[in-house]
Symmetry: C3
Subunit: 342 residues, 3 copies
């Protein structure tokens, strides 16, 4: 793929400073870009790399323009403009419409003629695969699954019975959608399984990272709204609801029936207990544990800071004495007040 800077400026809605006829062949970092590439500067901290870059053009903000020794595309949000331009240079997975001869397709499934079913995929009874959808190699759709237009399942994905995935989704390898929620009723010493009868209902433009698991609902559905982005190895319990455009980073876990608002951000390794609600616009920092509802947007944290293990041991032991320390502190304050009075 080769495009002129003028083309790229138009595509990214950028102001072009320099040679519009210059031909760009790819993208690169400021430090690593080859001549003929375009790079970007989104954080002025890295401005120093402008001096040494081999890139032939840089996407940047107005404020950094004077430091740029090469062609420039000036925008408000260089990272966003970069994302748009890089997409033009991304190698396309060559996917041809049609069903690979080794795929196993139920006669009752409806696969759009523009969809692509990869080698050794399994499409169950009554499934619906929409226009230009791609079901990658080794994927399994149990019966009654529907996949919207332009959605791609990468490889070895499992979608359990009845679940729905919207349009323009991207479901990475090893994902399991619609597995049974963890519902158990105790009967004397043993546990009886509570049937998991709801589905997972995923909106449009949702990305689900590799090996993430999403449980089906117990009675009603687990719901992932439009534009939600889930990273790898996330666990979503039954009947969770995630509001639109919420972003969840890798290895977070959401227990059953919890409701997360729109435009939230959960950093990596976060845990939410079940049956709580997070307001729209809540941010949780990494590895925090959330045990209560959060009714106001804002940034929330838990955890303890890293130390050398030797220091940590000394302090961690004191954590067990905190309540005692607090009481003794209060007692001291009282006694001192008495002493000062007397």
């Amino acid at each position: 793929m080769s495009l002129t800077l003028a083309d790229l400026a138009r595509h990214a809605d950028a102001k072009l400073i320099g040679d519009g006829q210059y031909v760009i062949h790819g993208v690169g970092t400021l430090q690593g870009a080859a001549p003929g590439s375009i790079s970007f500067l989104s954080n002025s901290r890295y401005r120093k790399y402008l001096q040494i870059t081999q890139a032939s053009a840089v996407i940047l903000q107005e404020q950094d323009l004077e430091y740029c020794p090469v062609n420039a595309l000036v925008v408000d949000n260089p990272y966003l403009a970069y994302a748009r331009i890089a997409a033009l240079f991304a190698p396309r997975q060559e996917v041809s419409a049609g069903i690979h001869h080794s795929a196993i397709i139920s006669p009752s499934a409806r696969v759009d003629e523009t969809a692509s079913i990869g080698p050794l995929a399994v499409i169950g009874d009554d499934c619906v695969v929409g226009p230009r959808a791609t079901i990658g190699p080794g994927c399994v759709l149990e019966q009654g699954v529907s996949v919207g237009n332009d959605t791609r399942l990468v490889a070895n994905v499992t979608i359990c019975w009845g679940c729905r995935i919207g349009a323009r989704g991207l479901i990475h390898a090893g994902v399991v959608i619609g597995t049974d929620g963890f519902g158990l009723a105790r009967e004397r010493d043993v546990y009886i399984k509570v049937p998991q009868l709801g589905i997972v209902d995923i909106g449009d433009d949702v990305e689900v990272g590799a090996n993430t698991t999403i449980d089906r609902g117990t009675i009603e559905n687990t719901i992932i709204e439009n534009g939600v982005k889930l990273d790898n190895q996330i666990q979503i319990g039954h009947n969770v609801m995630i509001g639109s455009n919420t972003v969840i980073v890798a290895c977070s876990a959401i227990a059953g029936s919890t409701v997360i608002g729109k435009n939230c951000t959960l950093a990596g390794g976060v845990g939410l207990v079940g049956h709580i609600e997070l307001a729209d616009g809540v941010t949780i920092t990494g590895m925090s544990m959330v045990t209560k509802s959060l009714n106001k947007p804002g940034v929330y944290s838990s955890g303890t800071p890293l130390s050398s293990s030797e220091q940590w041991h000394k302090n961690a032991v004191r954590f067990r004495q905190l309540d005692d320390m607090a009481r003794r502190l209060k007692q001291l304050e009282k006694e001192l007040a008495t002493l000062k009075k007397g």
Copy 2:
């Protein structure tokens, strides 16, 4: 499926209050049930929904009966009774006995004629698949694996060589059982692999959640006893032993050679170091870290509570000063005592 309330009462061992000939077509929540459905009330907090429910019958305790405007099934444990009744209405995966033409079966494997081997499953040498067992699409059994009667492997499951799974098990998609334990011997700068020669031995009535991984033993076996229920994305190290009817919630990790008793409950995201023992009846709350053996049943926790990040930063910094604070507090107490005496 349609059943009379009298049928359901018999099935759940419930006292029927109302019209035994009423025909029920499905289940629902109190808020969401359609007419013709049966719902349940297991927590008096939700009693208010009895007034608005469209359900035609409700499973509940004696104490809530007077508030119920519709037919009722009275039991001691409504959630358990619901589980039994919902199972009647759960759609059955249509699985027919026999081997799908696309499955790859070793000539030395013994597959019961009532078992079902799904599309594109791989059954290795000397495997044994018991009566009415179901090996779902894309599952791989390496050589010498045995799967007990009525056990189901959902899809894309991998069972490594020699492992045994008991009867009536349910192994969800993406699970890996019998992968090598993480055994390394250091030789100067590099690590030499310690062969992992034991197997994973799983009892009867065990459920294993999606993408959970269970390591094989180093020399002896990793053992999961009868009735254990494991949620999604759990990691079980080599030579771990888990006692019967213990329940472990998603994303917990148990390091090697640790022994967990019977009837324990580990909430989500819990971590146990290796080579420790948990007594029967231990409960660990979410995201706790367990570094020592627990010899008595009880409920145990670690972690810190959530705050706004601003508040959290101020407090977290002080965690590093805890030992110093404790010493200064003690010093103050001494000095004050001296002052009061003198």
Copy 3:
């Protein structure tokens, strides 16, 4: 496999004490070994088991020799010597060179004639599979993947386009290598995907545990150097670099662009934020959160110790008051000093 003790002593570079012609048939633990087996003692704590062992020989250090009632192989590092000897007795996966008839191989892929491609594996366009490499059942290689000599992919592994795996690697079931990094650019209310154009470049002698996920780089590559050992369910973000012979235990997560040195050890459940650096030789204890670069080797920790939940609640509440407590403590010290002076 049967070998004389003299053979084993030669293989493990050990001093033989006893009958060199004794024939050994397998390995076992001190407590569990059958007669005819060889065991090992690597920790003097377990010396008591020497008295009761049924093993016919024990690998041990000089200092434990006098307590050993059976044949002995004396070495400096018994665990390492055991690893070498156990490897001789490990059952070999019978893998025959060649391509299983059910595998789907692109005509443009180059598969060495000594390599083994298992049932229902998928090898994409332009892939290269080296001598004696094994691609297990259900594995998927997207286009342009290369796998080095003697590397084994166990089963249901997915390697995304363009990624490289070196020689003598072991990639366990369910692993996903080269999935898209989590790169999002915000545009008003929604997120635009940032194309992930780099690959994952894995060196020689690397082991990757079951269901671990490794993201491809955004522009440049994610790099795993020679001899790195990754346990199960680890998450490696885009553009992470891991230095040679570093070991990471299960369920740890490394966020994007973080650089980990050589010979580091991360225990289980550790989390590292993005864009930080760990020096060579750093050790992090289990479930710690690392939010800043660590420039010196050493052992580091975070977290709080386990208590009964009742005690924990009392102390955890005080965590929120820590800053206040520290200020009050300082105030008390001041006042007391004044009082003592006055």
